[in-house]
């Protein structure tokens, strides 16, 4: 059975947990929490607060909330549909007999002598009016804002669909990352087509900041070009049931090309262009090989070189030079004027090697995504907004007057919101004193 108290309690619990989830950094490794939150580490791991939004605790609350919403909507809907009927015994039975004799007479007058004026009075106020007259009874029904009658149920239905869509997305959505350099073709896993990055460009503003990244890609299927499109942030490519988004970019430093300058007394200054892993014999019996390249050279505590970042902040190339088959130089070379002889081993100290320039092919990081829950979320969102608009701006209002021959008239005023104000308004319209026995004004 639906319970509003349960619904409110669940809302409060979800609010509290959601706040906690923003205060504890999510999806970090155990070392992070041991280091930064040592006192709470046990609790965090026990309650899965490190991945709170996909934890059993949080998901159970959301699921309970979903069930409660569903139950509430199913409970309310029959009553809503009953309201649409002009003659419903249960609703008519809930009508009140005015306690004031003058009001009873006034209602009888409306039904007997001035029915047309009664109809016109409500029509002027924008009500749709229906009357029903049989041998022994008369019925008058005026109402407006029919969409508003179902407003809250539409909101709840929208929320239910959104939550279901979200659960489907969480379980069934798939994302695959692809890093493509220009000219590279990559088969998409599970699909019959491939993607080729034709061109990756970066556009800049006048102040040097990035304006846009563009990846011109081709979709190839069975050796045929099916589609060519430029992917940018906010402009994904859709092919089949997959969307491809531009998520990042970088430079493939493992395929860097470096320009080295080798000089020294007795050595003709020469410039050598090599890719990482390549070697060249530029003449006079020497062989130059580039073994590695680091864009942001650093050294770990144990003396092991590594790259501190992917940005070319402190570029260095590991170069080996041999002469007559014998190694004469091995070390990291940097752009001038930096000379780091402590990272070099040379039997010919007069040899000077410097990194004149470097470049690396750019790669574009695309993400292929399929999300079967997304369309449900969009549908739910539309219902949610329509439901809110109907609830707030098309409030349902209803007035029923019913009399059986020989009985006093019954009078029923119904509104989902602002009932007291509406009651006063209708009493004024019908010229009633408004005195009546008090009754529980809650919705059925």
């Amino acid at each position: 059975m639906a319970s509003l108290k349960l619904g409110i309690a669940l809302l409060i619990l979800i609010i509290i947990l959601a706040i906690i989830g923003t205060l504890i950094p999510q999806e970090q490794g155990p070392e992070f929490y041991r280091e930064h939150l040592p006192g709470s580490y046990g609790l965090i791991r026990f309650l899965d607060l490190d991945h709170l939004y996909r934890s059993p605790l949080f998901l159970s609350l959301v699921f309970l909330f979903l069930l409660n919403l569903l139950s509430c909507s199913l409970q309310q809907l029959p009553a809503r549909f009953r309201r649409l009927r002009i003659r419903d015994e249960k609703i008519l039975a809930s009508g009140r007999q005015p306690s004031d004799k003058r009001d009873r007479s006034q209602l009888e007058r409306w039904l007997e002598r001035d029915p047309l004026r009664l109809v016109a009075l409500f029509r002027e106020k924008g009500y749709r009016v229906q009357t029903d007259s049989e041998e022994n009874e008369k019925l008058f029904l005026a109402r407006k804002g029919r969409p508003g009658l179902f407003g809250p149920e539409l909101v709840h239905l929208g929320l239910i669909i959104i939550i279901v869509g979200g659960l489907i997305s969480a379980i069934f959505s798939q994302r695959v990352s692809l890093a493509l350099t220009e000219g590279q073709v990559e088969k998409i896993p599970g699909q019959t087509f491939s993607l080729r990055l034709d061109r990756f460009t970066t556009e800049y503003y006048a102040d040097g900041s990035v304006k846009d990244w563009k990846s011109l890609v081709s979709v190839l299927e069975n050796g045929q070009l099916r589609l060519q499109k430029t992917i940018e942030v906010n402009h994904p490519l859709k092919y089949g049931h997959l969307h491809f988004f531009l998520m990042g970019y970088g430079q493939d430093w493992d395929r860097a090309e470096v320009e080295l300058e080798i000089s020294g007394p007795g050595v003709q200054t020469r410039t050598v262009n090599l890719r990482v892993g390549e070697a060249e014999e530029p003449g006079t019996g020497i062989r130059v090989e580039v073994l590695n390249f680091l864009p942001d050279f650093g050294v770990k505590a144990g003396g092991q070189p590594f790259s501190r970042s992917t940005e070319p902040l402190n570029p260095a190339a590991l170069v080996e030079i041999s002469e007559g088959g014998r190694q004469v130089f091995l070390g990291w070379v940097f752009p001038p004027p930096q000379v780091a002889s402590h990272y070099q081993r040379s039997s010919r100290p007069e040899l000077k090697v410097s990194l004149k320039s470097f470049r690396a092919p750019a790669f574009s990081v695309l993400e292929a995504s399929s999300d079967p829950g997304a369309n449900l979320v969009w549908s739910g969102s539309v219902l949610l907004i329509l439901g809110l608009l109907a609830s707030f701006y098309l409030p349902y209002r209803e007035v029923r007057i019913y009399q059986r021959t020989g009985h006093p008239p019954l009078y029923l005023v119904y509104a989902r919101k602002n009932r007291e104000d509406f009651q006063k308004e209708v009493d004024g319209l019908l010229i009633l004193t408004g005195r009546r026995e008090s009754k529980d004004g809650k919705d059925e």
Partner: protein, 270 residues
């Protein structure tokens, strides 16, 4: 006349609207309230011109930096005040609403918020920027009206000897708060949640990522859902209702300011 001169004049007009509004408490209430209203209207026109100029000069939406967002939020609050004053005659509430506007304008003018144009990063180059941010801030402006009305309600104690006028004023505060939430909540739902999800889906390939900005927007939404349910179904009015409305707006403020400065995430633009 540049955008900053217009903004300064608007600020002065709002300040005078606030002062004349408070003067109306002391004497010739009707006349001073009218002056306050028209000063606010003049400020609104000047502020609108300032925003239009900024849009033309920057060739982008006037709410991409914190300075621009705070200025636009102030403008939206003025719009909300003007609409509600015409419809409900805000009387005692209006000067406090002008106080909020003046505070926002002072914050926007402060050196802490750089005024320079920032060219749009690729992620913000979308028409969803216009829809998502403007509708969200408009919604929050009406929630700000509810916040002020609710706060005034909480600060005016129940008085057995207060008389019918006093009780009527308290009831009006409660009613204005509800009506403001009735406008602000659908706008906030549409702008912050629905438009936000659509844009996130287009930019990042997922409509919801549980990043702090998204979660705090949801928390704000849940507070107002709580407000409406307790009010409409339980019949809660008065203090309990006002307290939830105040907490909801504090959540909205944290979503707008707090998340940017205290919690990091993908969403950290303005």
């Amino acid at each position: 006349m540049n955008e900053f001169s217009l903004l300064l004049l608007a600020f002065i007009a709002y300040l005078l609207a606030m002062l004349t509004g408070f003067i109306s408490y002391l004497r010739a209430a009707g006349r001073w309230r009218k002056i306050s209203y028209y000063l606010g209207l003049v400020g609104f026109i000047l502020h609108s011109l300032s925003l239009i100029l900024r849009t033309i000069q920057g060739r982008q939406a006037p709410f991409t930096t914190m300075y621009e967002s705070v200025s636009f939020l102030a403008w939206s609050c003025v719009l909300a005040v003007i609409i509600f004053d015409r419809k409900f005659r805000l009387e005692k509430i209006a000067p406090y609403l002008w106080l909020v506007v003046v505070a926002l304008m002072a914050l926007a003018s402060s050196p802490a918020l750089p005024k320079s144009f920032n060219p749009l990063v690729p992620a913000l180059q979308s028409y969803w920027l216009w829809l998502h941010v403007s509708v969200t801030l408009l919604g929050e402006a009406f929630l700000a009206v509810a916040f002020v009305a609710s706060l005034l309600y909480l600060l005016s104690p129940e008085r057995k000897d207060g008389g019918p006028d006093y009780e009527a004023r308290r009831e009006k505060l409660d009613r204005v708060a509800y009506r403001a939430v009735a406008v602000g909540f659908p706008l906030f739902t549409l702008g912050a949640l629905v438009f936000g999800m659509i844009w996130a889906s287009q930019a990042w390939g997922r409509y919801w990522g549980w990043d702090p900005k998204e979660v705090w927007s949801l928390i704000t939404w849940l507070f107002y859902a709580l407000y409406l349910h307790t009010r409409l179904v339980y019949g809660w009015k008065g203090r309990k209702s006002a307290l939830i409305a105040v907490l909801g707006f504090l959540a909205a403020l944290f979503t707008f300011f707090g998340v940017n400065y205290f919690l990091s995430g993908l969403h950290s633009y303005a």
